[in-house]
Subunit: 112 residues, 2 copies
Amino acid sequence: MVSKQLMAASTRPIILAILARGEDYGYSIIQKVRDISGGRLEWTDGMLYPVLQRMEMDGLIASKWRAAQGSRPRRYYRITGPGRQELESELSGWRSVWKALSVLSDPVAVET
Amino acid sequence: MVSKQLMAASTRPIILAILARGEDYGYSIIQKVRDISGGRLEWTDGMLYPVLQRMEMDGLIASKWRAAQGSRPRRYYRITGPGRQELESELSGWRSVWKALSVLSDPVAVET
DNA sequence: TTAGGTACCTAATGCGGCGAGGTAGAAAAT
DNA sequence: ATTTTCTACCTCGCCGCATTAGGTACCTAA
């Protein structure tokens, strides 16, 4: 449904957008994405965790382990200052592309 | 400005959207993209031609050489039936992702 | 005790963008 | 005259990165 490349391009901004609303942990992020997209976006944990690690190395997010009752400890992520900047930058890129697609293809503009 | 991955994810739908409006050749496509995006999308020929070839192999587009006055012969591409289907499918994917991003991030919704 | 949900991690492959380099003709500038 | 610039196409090879497939571990319900 959603192409591989589109999937790849959207992971980082979506993660940043979720964490911008509050800290969260990996497994929960996957479910939020599925819920919010109405099941159209299905992420696997195998693709998410490496991305989270890379984003932490890049300083866009930060993590902290926290115990949970009736569950394994979870690694909670929160967005950093540079992360918020990155989110803004990514969103502006998305707007550019979306606008170009809208101009080229009338039906798109109608749908927004 | 536009991330690598976003670039990768948008090339094919943009090409298909351009060709859906009429046949065109590579060099011209690059300029159209630059113009339509107001310079925010800068494609290089080195990335475009391989993509066009792959898309032709996939049957999404078809090409024909044609002579031009005061210029080298140009390879004109046109969209095929499967290409139009692919375009619709890609656009629907983009709508899904865009919608998810909008839900997560209010400022986006305002901008559309 | 077995299955399924929660929760995390990693190694190896493979794809694809992109930079760099190449061909060639026409026009404009030096 | 000759060099540069613009048009117009093509290809090779590196490298970064996502994805696949596999693995660990705990809890609850059947």
